[in-house]
Symmetry: none
Subunit: 408 residues, 2 copies
């Protein structure tokens, strides 16, 4: 009888020594009896999520944690931006990062960011979404501020096309060119979409209001950075297991979906600071009754890292630790638990860094080591040594008796 796997990723948890904390990290400085309990009973190590010194994005990091080599499956930002704004993305879809921009009546670009528009872009996006051209389904969704995502769906599309966005002002939108004959349809549809966006947006009520208020109209969309979503083999295809993800952030949810997980929505669990961590771990325990692998992302520590807030990050650790009392109490004995991070977000840097992340692995049969606490410094001397992010999943599945022998 095979066992089960629970992977808890505390987003951006890793940090560097903080002067205000006497040279300790926020994780080291926070009371964390429950995390330490699992560290003591289990084995610890550190992980380079992609490779030593490589700064992971949230997208490449989660691909790696799900056992994929991001250098092979990460095919440009477009499709992952689409996941990030909550669009459904299927293998073969081609997606583009876009700007809402301003053109004059001769189509010369006067502002690539449409006066840094921040409001009512969802209304503009809705008027462009769900269109069709030459048999290609066209989807569009707003992102933050002046940003948006264009997604094309049809058989035989290609990401080998140039940008419509000339990347500077004073020019007209560039005619999108196929880089090879197989990309002709894709190029045509993007060109059609750019024209269409002008036709629809130039007299859009939102733009009329903007002009009235003295703001630049967001009267055209300029796509760039085409990327095609590869087929990422699912957990079922790879390991014959049922996998579920619990996450608040759209990008992480989207990557769970393309990796072949079911998404479990948990009440009160968001991607924000106020997320209900207990609800997430409760939800994970429930999901383990029907799934072989459950993944949980808790975003909050990353937000404090980006804000440079070491006190906030310590507080997040306290809350994560309290939530872990649920696992201490109720984790079934047939479950292997990993606790780690997708990257470091040091409060001194306010961005992701390539510093390795702490890792603990707990469950029946895990060889113990002498590490007694869960933090970046203690785990670095643990029995698991220094691993890569994409090593974690195979290790857990092997412990759980879910992998095939290589050879005889």
């Amino acid at each position: 009888m095979a066992e089960k796997v629970l992977m808890v990723v505390c987003d951006g948890l890793g940090d560097r020594p903080v002067d205000a904390l006497d040279g300790r990290t926020p994780l080291e400085s926070a009371m964390r009896p429950n995390l330490n309990h699992f560290a003591k009973k289990g084995a610890c190590g550190i992980m380079d999520i992609i490779a030593p010194g490589v700064r992971p994005g949230s997208d490449t990091a989660h691909l790696s944690l799900f056992g994929h080599d991001p250098y092979k499956v990460y095919t440009g930002r477009g499709p992952f931006e689409a996941l990030g704004v909550g669009m459904e993305v299927r293998p073969g879809d081609v997606a583009f990062r876009c700007n809402f921009s301003t053109v004059d009546d001769k189509l010369n670009i006067t502002d690539r960011r449409a006066g840094r528009i921040r409001e009512r872009t969802e209304e503009l996006a809705r008027s462009l979404d769900n269109w069709e051209s030459s048999g290609v389904k066209v989807y569009f969704k707003e992102g933050t501020e002046h940003r948006g995502v264009l997604l094309l769906r049809a058989p035989g599309l290609s990401s080998e096309v140039t940008d419509a966005d000339p990347h500077k002002e004073g020019e007209k939108p560039h005619d999108v060119q196929p880089k090879n004959p197989g990309a002709a349809l894709t190029a045509k549809v993007v060109n059609d979409f750019v024209k269409h966006s002008y036709d629809v947006l130039k007299d859009h009520p939102v733009n009329k209001d903007r002009v009235k208020a003295g703001h630049k109209p967001a009267n055209i969309v300029l796509p760039r950075g085409a990327g095609i979503m590869p087929h990422i083999p699912s957990f079922m295809e790879r390991f014959n297991i049922r996998a579920a993800g619990i996450a608040g952030v759209a990008l992480v949810k989207g990557i769970c979906r393309v990796a072949g997980m079911d998404i479990i929505d948990v009440k009160g669990a968001t991607g924000g600071l106020g997320t209900d961590m207990n609800a997430k771990l409760d939800g994970a325990l429930k999901a383990l009754a029907t799934y072989d692998l459950v993944f949980v992302n808790i975003k909050a520590a990353d937000l404090c890292g980006h804000d440079g807030d070491h006190k906030g990050k310590m507080d997040v650790v306290l809350r994560i630790d309290r939530a872990f009392s649920i696992l201490k109490k109720d984790l079934p004995s047939d479950v292997y638990l990993a606790v780690t991070a997708d990257h470091s977000t040091p409060v001194s840097v306010k961005d992701h860094t390539g510093d390795p992340v702490p890792l603990l692995l707990y469950g029946k049969g895990v060889r113990p080591d002498s590490v007694k606490s869960f933090d970046e410094v203690a785990c670095a001397e643990g029995g698991l040594g220094r691993l890569r992010g994409f090593d974690l999943l195979p290790m857990m599945l092997d412990l759980a008796g879910r992998t095939e022998k290589f050879g005889a």
Copy 2:
């Protein structure tokens, strides 16, 4: 504001336990308070410069330390031999290892090493250097003893040619053949050069003197082992940083140059045992005022390793340690320091081995560990774990805030 990076490579420093030192290594046995200071304050680990058990050459080792995969950029010994004898080598240049040899008047090879000639080869080489054939610039320089390097420069050369050297005596020089049509020009020029070398050398005053003294004349040059210098992207191209190298040995200087470093010549700093280590580290500190990355190679420990001289190697460590007092005193707080070796040269082996080398990493934000001294044994239990040589540079640049995120 991004920080800076100082990488100090003590050539051949790594060793194995020495019986005469009660089973300790020369590094372990020498007083090294300054190196230990940085080990205590920083983090330590060990590195396989290329891969576990792979014996690095000085060329492949430094390529790896500069963040390149030597299996990708090391394109045969020719171009690196050329760097080793101090020739300028540019991307696209094709270089050959050569022997001065002896032929009789029917061009049969009677001695592939020209009586193991040791003297006045620079006079012979000078008479062959700076020639031209079929529009190809031809350079030649002597190496140690009977060795030399032939370098061809022109657009469109190829390393896909056979050897002129038949690798045995009693035969005539082989006619160099192109392995594909694109190598025809290269083959022709090498054949021209072999003939030319005989024409120039057969009555050369040096050879007249040799024959008079009863020695075999060095009356022909036999090239072998063609290699083309690849384009190795510079530090500026890869990371947008200015890099400088301080080294005494021609090969290391040459690799610094092809990797895109400026070479800083420091008075008294040689590649020999008597090198002025203080001058090198002083020079490094000065260079850090204008460069983002400074690399220093200190050769002396390797020489003692090759000589099997454990006392000499301990003495070199003492001198290196004393020089490090300069860094202890004056290393700016915005500099990340790494101290390591390019390979082990155990005194018991008298050659490079694949044993991992010790590594220490020091600077603001480096997570501490419990290692208190800098040596092969202590570092093996450090918080950095076990890394590859080409991981070091990305890790340092990540600490210094000099890298791009992979993904979003």
